[in-house]
Amino acid sequence: MNRRTITALRALASVSLALAIPIATPAAAMANVGIPSGYIVGRGALHVLVAGVFTVLTSAIAIRGLRRMERTNAALAASATASAEDDSNAV
C-alpha cells in the first residue's frame, strides 16, 4: 500500500474515534428520561469503534486487491493494443 492509502486509513480510524464524542450529546438527553447515559455512551462508542476497525480492515484488503487487479488489467489492455497494432501493420 502506498502512503496516501495508509494516510486515508489512518484518517478513517481517527474519525471513528472522534465520533465517540458527539454521541455523548443525545445520551445526555436520554438520561433525562431515566435511561443511564453511561450505557448509551458506552454502547454507541463501542458500535462506532467496532464498525471503524471492521471498515479499516476490509478497506485495506479491498484496496490491495483492486490495485493488483488494476495492474494486471492494465498489462492485458496494453498487450491487446500492441497486438492490434501489429495486426494492422502486417495488413
Binding site: 454521541i23 443525545p26 467496532v50 486487491g65 487487479m69
Partner: protein
C-alpha cells in the same frame, strides 16, 4: 460486551454478504466475465463497510436520542442519508470499476448502468423480501 461486538460484526457481515450476493446476481446478465465479477467483489468489499460506517456515523451523531431528542425527524434522517449515500456509492463504484478493469469488463457506460441497477436492487431487495414475508 463481547456478545455485542460479535452481534455488531455479524450485522456488518450480513450487510456485506447480502449486498455482494445481489450485485453479483445483477452482474450475470451484463456478462462481465470472471475479471469483472472479481472487480465487483473487491469494490463491494471496499464500499459496503464504508457505506455502513457512514450511515452509522450520521444516525448516531444526529439521531441517537430518538424522535423527541434528535435534531431531525428520524424517518427523514434515515431516508435522506440513504439516498445521498447511495448516490455517492453508485458514482464511486462506477469510477472504481472503470479504473480497475481497464475496459476488460465492458465500456464505461455499461459499468455505469450496472452500478445504478446493482445498487437499486441491493438497496431495495431486503425491503422487498421483508414485505413479501410479512404479506404471506
Amino acid at each position: 460486551m463481547l456478545y455485542e461486538v460479535g452481534l455488531f460484526l455479524g450485522l456488518f457481515c450480513i450487510a456485506l454478504v447480502s449486498t455482494l450476493f445481489f450485485e453479483l446476481v445483477v452482474a450475470v446478465p451484463f456478462s462481465m466475465g470472471m475479471r469483472g465479477l472479481g472487480a465487483i467483489a473487491l469494490v463491494n468489499l471496499l464500499m459496503n463497510p464504508l457505506y455502513s460506517f457512514a450511515f452509522l456515523a450520521v444516525i448516531y451523531t444526529f439521531g441517537l436520542g430518538g424522535e423527541p431528542f434528535s435534531i431531525f425527524d428520524w424517518r427523514w434522517l434515515v431516508g435522506l442519508t440513504t439516498v445521498v449515500l447511495e448516490i455517492v456509492v453508485v458514482v464511486a463504484e462506477w469510477r472504481l470499476l472503470v479504473w480497475a478493469t481497464h475496459g476488460t469488463a465492458g465500456s464505461s457506460r455499461k459499468l455505469l448502468a450496472f452500478s445504478v441497477l446493482a445498487n437499486v436492487v441491493s438497496a431495495s431487495a431486503p425491503f422487498a423480501i421483508v414485505w413479501v414475508v410479512y404479506s404471506l
